[in-house]
């Protein structure tokens, strides 16, 4: 299946670097881990490391696509008639927080990262989340309501990430807190906008 012949080796290296980085980030923190350590743990040179990843921090988000795929499948797996908000909530709360995700959260909490980097990444995640919801909603929805779908998706994504922002500005930022804030935000969305059935029509 490997189209490119020598690229197999490249892929192996990339995986090794990802794994090494994930472990080191989790055990020592992001900033406390040097590029040299990652490279060495992956059995590779620093220069090679930088050939595969543009920067150290990109490795922190390396498994991001995996998580995104998971989320989309989780949405797809929800029962057909279920209100969107419930689907999203279920998917979010069932998300398997692995080492990668937890390390990211830890880095966020510790404010280790360059704010620009965080904001940029979260922006991307929010957009992807909205797309996932859109994709989910468009299954079995009539095309006339495409705008509704779009708006609904963005609103939900904005709410979820608004919750995260609130969480990030709190004094105590535990995972339980994040869950609470997210829960509350979605509830508010539901009660405030659910009356006219905006989210019930799907």
């Amino acid at each position: 299946m490997a189209r490119n012949p020598q690229t197999v080796r490249s892929e192996r290296t990339r995986v090794a670097l990802r794994r090494a980085a994930t472990e080191l980030f989790a055990s020592q923190g992001v900033e406390a881990t040097s590029a040299e350590q990652i490279a060495e743990a992956a059995g590779v040179t620093v220069r090679t490391f930088y050939r595969h990843f543009p920067s150290k921090h990109d490795l922190l988000f390396a498994d991001y696509d995996t998580g995104l795929q998971w989320f989309r499948k989780a949405l797809a797996g929800r029962p057909a008639g279920e209100p969107v908000l419930e689907s999203v909530r279920a998917a979010i709360f069932a998300f398997p927080y692995d080492v990668q995700a937890l390390t990211q959260m830890a880095a966020f909490r510790a404010e280790e990262l360059d704010p620009e980097r965080i904001v940029g990444h979260l922006h991307q995640v929010e957009a992807d989340l909205a797309d996932a919801v859109t994709e989910h909603l468009e299954r079995g929805a009539d095309p006339d309501r495409r705008l509704d779908v779009l708006v609904t998706s963005r609103v939900i994504a904005a709410a979820v990430f608004g919750a995260m922002e609130v969480w990030m500005q709190r004094e105590s930022r535990s995972m339980a807190d994040l869950a609470d804030v997210t829960q509350a935000t979605l509830a508010a969305l539901e009660s405030g906008l659910g009356a006219d059935g905006m989210f019930r029509h799907y």
Copy 2:
């Protein structure tokens, strides 16, 4: 007049660094000049260099305030009844392009600099230019037209920097070209919006 006692030395160092950087940037280009060279030319250590300027590129814009002050004074020196656009044009074209400014331009032309840095700086310059025009217009204008003043200022600044953007995307980017584009842009602004007297009322 030197309020802070030991700060005199600090100021001397800063000046030396600025001068050294300006010369080296002009003669070799920005990226071809290393922080070490600048520090050495200023008779100082690299570490000291970074204590006075957050990054090498900040030195490229070090004399920026001087230029801004010049522009404001040039505006203030224009005759009272003159249309704003004419005042701005006169001030822009009388601007004394010193080594600093020319080096900046050269760096822009050569696309040496990180685009983000350029955009960020230009954004600042545009805002400052607008403020300068506002300040100029507010002299002797009645307070009721404050919004007009604000809009006019922004429009002019946007036009001038729009011209610069056009210039930066051209094939040949000589100083003469920049002058031409700026001239043309201001002329368009004048003929297009001058009919209703928007710029003539001042």
